[in-house]
C-alpha cells in the first residue's frame, strides 16, 4: 500500500491541488452569484467544450503556438551563443549594460513600441524575445561560470580544441541548469505572446480571441480560453522536460 502511495503521490498531490482550485472557484461563483463576473464551473466547461470543437480555435492556437516557439527558439539560441561568447571577459563586460537595459525595460512599453515598429504578426515574437532572452542568457551564463575551473584548466593543458571543449565540456555541464531555465522561460514566453497579441491586435490568435470574449461579456468563454493557454504552457514545459531527460540520460 505504501509503495503504491509513494508511486502515485505526485498524481495525488496534483489532484488535490486541482480539487482545491475547483472548490474555491465554485465557492466564489456561488458567493458572487453574477455569471458575468465569476461564471459557474458548468458554464465555463460548456464553453470549453464548445471552443474545443471550433475550427477557429485551432487556427488561433496554432498561430499562437508557432509565435511562442519562434520567439523561444530565437531567445534560446541567442542566449546560448552569447553566453558562450561571454565566457570571454571583454565580451561579458560589453554585453552587461545591454542585458541590464533589456531586463529593466517595462514589458508594457516594449509592447507599445513594438506595435508601432513591427507588423501585428511579428511584434509579439519580438516582445517575448526581449523578455525571455535576458532570463535565459543569465541562466546559461551562470551555469557555465559554475563549471569546475580545474576541468577547464585540464582541457587547456591537454590542448583540447575549442569545438570539443564546447561540445564535450561546456554544453553537457550546463545542460541540466539550462533546461531548468528553459522550462520556466517557455511558459513565460506563451504568457507574453498572448499579452502582446491583444495589444498588437494579431488576427487569428489566442490573445485576440480572449479580448473579443471580454468585449462580448463572455466571461466563461474568456476563462475557457485561459484554461487552454495554461494547458498549452504546461504541455510545452513537459516537452522541454522530456528533452532534458533524454539529453541528461545521454550524458
Amino acid at each position: 500500500m505504501k509503495k503504491i502511495l509513494k508511486k502515485w503521490q505526485n498524481v495525488l498531490y496534483l489532484l488535490l491541488s486541482l480539487g482545491i482550485i475547483v472548490g474555491l472557484w465554485a465557492l466564489l461563483a456561488k458567493i458572487v452569484n453574477i455569471e458575468l463576473i465569476i461564471p459557474s464551473l458548468q458554464s465555463t466547461f460548456r464553453q470549453l467544450g464548445r471552443i474545443l470543437s471550433a475550427k477557429d480555435f485551432y487556427i488561433a492556437l496554432g498561430s499562437t503556438l508557432w509565435r511562442s516557439l519562434a520567439s523561444f527558439a530565437i531567445g534560446a539560441f541567442s542566449a546560448l551563443g552569447l553566453s558562450l561568447l561571454s565566457l570571454l571577459k571583454p565580451v561579458k563586460k560589453i554585453l552587461s549594460p545591454f542585458i541590464k537595459i533589456i531586463r529593466s525595460v517595462p514589458t508594457m512599453s516594449v509592447i507599445l513600441l513594438a506595435v508601432i515598429w513591427l507588423k501585428p504578426t511579428v511584434s509579439p515574437i519580438f516582445v517575448a524575445f526581449l523578455i525571455n532572452f535576458p532570463i535565459m542568457y543569465s541562466g546559461f551564463l551562470s551555469a557555465m561560470e559554475s563549471i569546475d575551473g580545474e576541468l577547464i584548466s585540464m582541457s587547456k593543458i591537454y590542448n583540447v580544441s575549442l569545438k570539443d571543449r564546447v561540445l564535450s565540456l561546456y554544453l553537457p555541464s550546463v545542460a541540466p541548469a539550462a533546461f531548468d531555465c528553459m522550462q520556466s522561460s517557455i511558459s513565460l514566453t506563451v504568457k507574453i505572446i498572448i499579452s502582446a497579441e491583444v495589444l498588437a491586435q494579431t488576427r487569428n490568435s489566442l490573445g485576440i480571441m480572449m479580448q473579443i470574449s471580454r468585449a462580448y461579456l463572455e466571461t466563461a468563454e474568456l476563462i475557457a480560453y485561459t484554461i487552454t493557454a495554461i494547458v498549452l504552457s504546461y504541455l510545452l514545459e513537459l516537452v522541454v522536460f522530456g528533452i532534458k531527460k533524454a539529453v541528461v540520460r545521454w550524458k
Binding site: L199, I208, Y216
Partner: protein, 335 residues
Amino acid sequence: MKKSVKIILTVSLLLVSVLTCFLFAACQKQETYNAQIEFINQGSDAIAALKTGTAKYAVLGEPAATMAGANAGATYRIDLQKEWKTLTGFDGYPQASTVATDNVIENHSAFLQKFLAEMQENVAWIVEYASSVTGVLQANGSTSKFPSEQVIKNCNIRFESAIDAKDSVNKYLEIMYSFNESFVGKMPTDNFFSSVKPNKDAVLPTKEGTTAINVVVPDGAPALAIAKLLNDSEFAGYDVHYTIVSGAQEISAAISNGSADIAIMPTNLAAKLFGMGKSIKMVSSNVFGLLYLVGTQEIKDFSELNGEKILCTGQGGTPEFVLKYILDKNNVKTE
C-alpha cells in the same frame, strides 16, 4: 417552308435569345475589388502608420479621425455614417444607448422623464458650448479631448427615445448579428424598448430626504451625451452621482451588481444584458456612429481601395463590422 425547318429555326432563335441574355447578364456583373484590413489597438497606432506611409487608409472614430488629419495629413475621408444611411435608410447606426433599471423606470418615472429631457437639451448644448465641453468632462474624470465644435458634431450625438429608435436599433443589431452572433447574443424583444419619453415639465414627487441615482457612462464620445447634465443639471429630491469609466465591461459589471441605475453603453451589450435577464430597458439612443475612413490620398470611390490596406480599430466590434458591411455592399471583399 417545311415544318421541320420551321421547328429548327424556332429552336435556334430561342437558343440565340437565351445565350444573348446570359452574355448580357455576364457583362452587367459588377467587378469585385479586394482590400486588406489590418487591425490596430487604438487610433494613435494608425496615426503613426499614416504618417510614416506604411498605410494610406484607416478607419478611425472621432476625435482620432480629426487628429489623423492634423498630424498625419490624412485629410481625405469617407463618412461611414452617410454610407450606412445610403444602404439602410437609417441616419447613422445607434452605437451607444442609455439603459435604466426597471426600478428607475417604474418607481422614478418623473425623474427619468426629466433626465431624458436634459439629455435631449444636451444635444444642442454641447455644440453651443463646444469650447467648455472638454473641461466639463475632464473635471468629472474623463481623459478625452474634443478640440472643436466640428469634432463634437462629427461624433453624431443625438437623442432618440427608445420607441423612436427601435427600428434603427433592430436594423443595426441585425446587421451586427450577421457577422457574429455572440456580439449581440439574442436579438432583443419589444420589451427591451421602454416607452418612456423625455418630459421637461414632469413633476417630481415631494418627499423627505433624497434618492440616490447612480449614472455610469463610458469615457469618450458617449460621455458627450451627458455633458450638460454634468455641468448644471439638478433634480429636486434626487442626488444624481455620475461616474465616467474607461470601458464597457465596467458598466456591464455595474449593471450586473446593481451599482448603476442608469448607464450609457454599447447598444449590443445592452441588448445582451437584457437577453441575460438583467432588469434593464433601453430608454434612448445617443451616439449614432462616429467612424470615418480617412486617407492620405484622395478617395472618390470604393473601387480605389482595390489592393489597399485599411487600418481599423475595434476588431470583433462595431468598427470592423460596419466597415465590412459597407465595403461588401460596395463590392470590396476583405480578408
